[in-house]
Amino acid sequence: MAYYTALFEISGLNILLALSVFATLMVGQFSLAQVGFWSIGAFVTAILTTMHGMPLYSALIISSILCGFIGLLLGYPCLKIKGIYLTLATVAFAEVVRVFFNNLNYQIELGDRMIGPAGALGFRGVKVIAAWPEIYLVLFVIVLLFILLASSRLGMSINAVREDETAAAAVGINVTKIKVSMFMFGAAIAGAGGGLYASYSSYVLAENFSFHMALVSIFYVAVGGMYTFSGPIVGAVVLTLLPEVFRFAADYRMILYGVVVIIVVIVFPRGIVDEIRYRIEQRSLRHDTFSDNKTHNKNKKLPDEGIK
């Protein structure tokens, strides 16, 4: 039973990470910085709850606000950077955060022992005050926000920015504001998620929030779906459970995991949820006059630039 509860809880945490990646991706920004925010959230919450006795939810709110603010500081200058360069900048941010917490020594005496982040040894003995109810409560709130976004005009504007910034500006959307806001939103989600993680796992180690984890966070979105928020949720759950399903493969299960990720991305280029949705739509359009069968066989062999 404890095993399943743990899986349930870890799934919830991973969903939060996936949603935070998705929030920035909603405006077309492909960010690997979420791990950095996650790390900040984890350490800040741990420090607040364990060392200063703050209640969980207050600490989580402070963590997300702090991360949102850092997201603002990071997001504004990053607007100037596009595409692959932005991704690299976010990698740099996450790495700097990792190095920072890896060197952070801030301990106070509590009771009979020293407690707090101890450099490369990490923060041991974080107060464990979050389990599935706390995790899923936060998740519920965030999903609610995504639902609101998905059905409101603001959500439409966000989608418009993702699809075509120029056209979005031409219909009066303030592209800068929306991009920075979504960057902040993503950072705030990661801040809360990291905080929950710390309060759930009792041990926070900066090395764990590495480039590797950033890649995995991208897997969630790519596998689940990158256009609707249900995608990252599915992706996170599937990829959390997958290694468990592959237990029979013992040491080689992570290899199988990698193989599955590749196959899914090739077979479902939009991610599982959005690809299925897309195919269903296509099927219902089949009778239309569209020249689907006349797709450009030659163009396929050419690089993107070749067919402008």
Partner: protein, 251 residues
């Protein structure tokens, strides 16, 4: 009254547009024509804030639009379409129009919360009217990417009009349209003009331009070489040279 005065732009050393003056009254269609690379699209991009002008002024009803951000210019009453269709293809047809209404929202509620307020109701009926007018009602629930080319073109125009602009800039609306669609386009533009909209039409399709424009400005190498009504333009020597080449041997 929409007015452009002394608008100039150069890229590197190349002068893309030099000292352009145009003015369009409401209820008037101004054609902007010229050979490839003459600066037509540059003009539209300068007016709508996609490019920053080196010098010159753009004014709409006395309000200064020069070098403002694109979204501000749109909010101030300037709408446009693009040469290469730029619709939001993953969104439904209806949402493409609704997204353009966002800037008109007075109440915060309509922006953030999907509740049916009075304002929202008004928007909804406007959307329906636009969908009707542009013959898109039957596909309103479909994703825009699944439309035919002509439908996409219509959707782009409908979206521009959802902004309730005072001036509409059309960048090659006729490209790729079949004769039937062309007739429809001409009718629609004339209709919009009658409703009091000022329109700038950049177009290669000369028959259309000559048929529906009140006045025409001809650009060549970034300079205005002629302005006048269709008749004057077709008989202008400079225009003929610009289009057909130097040797006037063509009958």
């Amino acid at each position: 009254m929409f007015e452009v005065t002394g608008l100039s732009k150069s890229f590197g050393g190349l002068k893309a547009l030099e000292n352009l003056d145009i003015s369009v009254k409401s209820g008037e269609v101004m054609g902007l024509i010229g050979p490839n690379g003459s600066g037509k699209t540059t003009t539209i991009n300068l007016i709508t804030g996609l490019l920053k002008a080196d010098s010159g002024k753009v004014q709409l009803d006395g309000k200064d639009l020069t070098n403002k951000a694109a979204d501000i210019i749109a909010k101030l009453g300037t709408a446009r379409t693009f040469q290469n269709l730029r619709i939001f293809s993953r969104q439904t047809v209806r949402d493409n129009i609704r997204v353009a209404q966002t800037t008109l929202c007075k109440s915060v509620f309509s922006k953030f919360v999907p509740f049916l307020t009075d304002e929202e109701r008004a928007f909804r009926s406007e959307t329906d009217a636009l969908l009707n007018e542009f013959e898109l009602s039957h596909v309103s629930h479909k994703r825009a990417e699944s439309l035919s080319y002509g439908e996409k073109k219509r959707l782009e125009m409908a979206r521009a009009l959802a902004l309730k602009p005072k001036i509409l800039l059309l960048d090659e609306p006729a490209a790729g349209m079949n004769p039937l669609e062309l007739d429809w386009l001409a009718e629609t533009i004339v209709g919009l003009k009658k409703s009091g909209l000022a329109i700038i039409l950049v177009e290669h399709h000369m028959k259309l331009v000559m048929k529906i424009c009140d006045r025409i400005t001809v650009l060549n190498f970034g300079n205005k070489i002629a302005e006048g009504n269709p008749k004057e333009i077709t008989n202008n020597k400079d225009v003929i040279t610009a289009y057909l080449g130097k040797d006037h041997t063509i009958a």
